[in-house]
């Protein structure tokens, strides 16, 4: 395989956007107890 050697005067500039994984759905307790 060919390895390309980037000259020391060459430059690279890039940007990457990072997002967290989606939050797991919040479980809603549907079995609410009635108040006394």
């Amino acid at each position: 395989m060919t390895v390309i050697v980037i000259g020391e005067n060459d430059s690279i500039c890039g940007t990457v956007l990072v997002s967290p994984p989606p939050e797991p759905p919040v479980e809603v307790d549907t079995n609410e107890q009635e108040a006394d």
């Binding site: 395989m1 390309i4 690279i12 500039c13 940007t15």
Partner: protein, 136 residues
Amino acid sequence: MAVQYLASLRSTRMDAVTTACGATAWLQVWDGALPATPATAPAGTLLASMALSNPVAPAASSGVLTIDVTPVPTDSGANASGTPTFCRIATSETGTTTGIVQMSAGVGSGDISFSAAITSGGTVTLTSLTITDGSS
């Protein structure tokens, strides 16, 4: 003095990167120390890989190679959590010795600047990447 090349020859040098990438190339994101060469197996962890276009870029202009980000290279399920320290353009998604070009990376620093550290399962999106031949 530094060596100077014609603009057309500078572009030819950059286009050689596109040729070396072939039909399938990825931008690999790693943590750990920068290896000695792009083909040296890293000691760190592969955090994410984004598939690049085929070809990876249109013809270079005035020695500037602009990586194609349409469609947007994205990894929607990062492999591991960590802070990026270097990236590689490589000819395989996860290969450790298939790099063509490598560059420093960091959160808000480095050749490739990340907006935040990577969380396993998160989304990583390449928004821009240019390589500029410095022999002008």
